[in-house]
Amino acid sequence: MELGKLFRDKLENAEIVPDPSINVRLMRRIARREFMTFNPASFNVYYLGTLLVAGITAAILLLPSKEAPVVFPDKVINEVTVPIPEKSDIEAGKTESLNTRSEPGITKHVSDKPEKIQENSRIPVNEQSEAESRPSRVDHKTLSAPVVKNDILTKESGSDKLVSSSKEAGSLFVSSVVDGCIPLKVRFICTAIDADTYRWTFGDGGVSYDKAPQWIFDVDGEYKVTLEVYSGDKLIGKSYELIKVYPRPVANFELSPEKAVIPDDEIRFINYSTEAVKYMWDFGDGTYSELFEPQHKYTQFDNYDVKLKVYNGFGCADSVIVQNAFAGSKYYIEFPNAFIPNSEGPTGGIYSSKSDEMAQIFHPSSSGVNEYHLKIFSKMGILIFESNDINIGWDGYFKGQLSNSGVYIWKVRGKYRNGEPFTKMGDVTLLRNQQ
């Protein structure tokens, strides 16, 4: 058998078990990349966490809000009548004001859109089983058909509008919104006239006895909010509303390469967002992208803030911003702290690996330096040496004479290839050969 075939046959599909520590190390590396790489200088997981908390707080404060682009259902309510079933007397699952439902006014608008029944109800909606007696109602319950259309992202604040789920006389309260993104703040106002006591249950365990309570739903799901009104001790009415609370996606990303240098490097944006279907990147230089993982090349060096905003199928958003994403540069310039000049005479300062072996010329090691001005001073402040060429270092001589051993001060100014300026200062010890 031919040699190649021997190896191919035996080894082509051979399996070797890796050491278990490899798996651990690999996953740790990946986890580290996810959190620690935005900007090693000023970013870490705590900063990111703070940003997320700040973002969510801001979202709460702005709700019902520009931040929660749920035009979908609001639009629905505007166009059409009542997507949601009534408030009616549901005691025995019978309805007295049943007339509300079969009305022609209640159109099945949702059938225009692909339907997806929101299954995440936190509280089982018992009344759904009563659907038999009211066939039309079931259709209206199918809210949440989240197809992301471009128009849903234009937000309108539904905050001041009070929505009545039913225009009928049978409704006992109105809600400021009937659906939205988490965390969802809803204002309920009882409109019953003869009541003096109110009891609300919000479907997530919360209860209120106010006439017009406000409630925040902080977990996504479908909630049945019920109001019972009493006159004295007598229950005079009961109605409910279904509130749909949509989850939010989580925006998250990192840059690659880790210590990117702009404008040289083409930057790749790695997308760690979850539950998102639409992405909007703002690269901070006036350009944008809607790709999942875009690549971008900047045309000049600057402090750019990179922002990613993501939307899920419900139109809810989350965003994350990395400020000054490219502050860490891999360009550098560094000087040694001592050198031993050649005692045989000035060499002009041109250095090589040979002269470096004996540390004879004082010069920097660097990467990406474009402009360079070096000055060396004695301790008394006398300018001893100057060079604008990074290839010419100091050979230790001043006016033809070998300088005294001791400490000298160096100061360098310049610019890296990307335009980033640098200024550094330090001291260097001149050692004389012991002959």
Partner: protein
């Protein structure tokens, strides 16, 4: 049991669980590839880690044409080549021309005679340059022209390295065969 498509979709989203499933499913196979290109298991495991990082962060490069296993193997092979280049200057340079091949007169081997462990051992003992060329030509099936481009040498170098590699391998296999014969003779 996740299908490859589900795994790929999850890994595109950087879903940690899907990444773990991918690792569990293919790490043994990929280590088998990496070990062919290494001098020992530790080096192979280094290449394996680097390969998985590349796989996880470039999974979107897999277009769906061709087998997924084939794509994974390509990533591992490319990582091995990168690793080889990186280590070139640190390697103990054996002047490969000094290898003297003992004419064995044997040009073929019985397949069942050698275990995969023994074949791995032979590969691990080769000089890195020979090992690269032999793997790429004889196992991976690349042409010398392609190998030359991947390794940054010219086509003739690839050809001569391949034939020298084969000579060394034959010598080692012959030694193995003799050893085994001795053992069984002494039973």
């Amino acid at each position: 049991m996740m299908s490859d498509n589900q795994i790929i979709e999850g890994c595109t989203r950087h879903d940690r669980r899907c990444q773990q499933v991918l690792y569990d499913k293919y790490s043994r196979f990929l280590l088998g590839v990496c070990l062919r290109y290494s001098s020992d298991k530790a080096e192979a495991e280094d290449i394996l880690q680097e390969s998985f990082l590349k796989i996880f962060f470039n999974i979107s490069d897999y277009s769906g044409t061709g087998s997924f296993t084939g794509w994974l193997r390509k990533v591992a092979v490319n990582t091995a080549i990168t690793h080889y280049h990186k280590n070139l200057k640190h390697r103990y340079h054996v002047d490969i021309d000094e290898y003297v091949s003992v004419e064995t007169g044997i040009s073929s081997f019985e397949e069942d005679f050698f275990t995969s462990d023994e074949l791995y051992m032979v590969l691990n003992e080769l000089p890195a340059g020979y090992r690269m060329v032999f793997n790429l030509y004889a196992v991976e099936g690349y042409k010398h022209r392609e190998i030359a481009e991947m390794l940054g040498v010219d086509t003739n170098t690839s050809k001569s390295q391949y034939s020298r590699a084969k000579a060394v391998i034959r010598d080692k296999l012959e030694i193995l065969r003799k050893l085994r014969k001795n053992y069984s003779d002494n039973d």
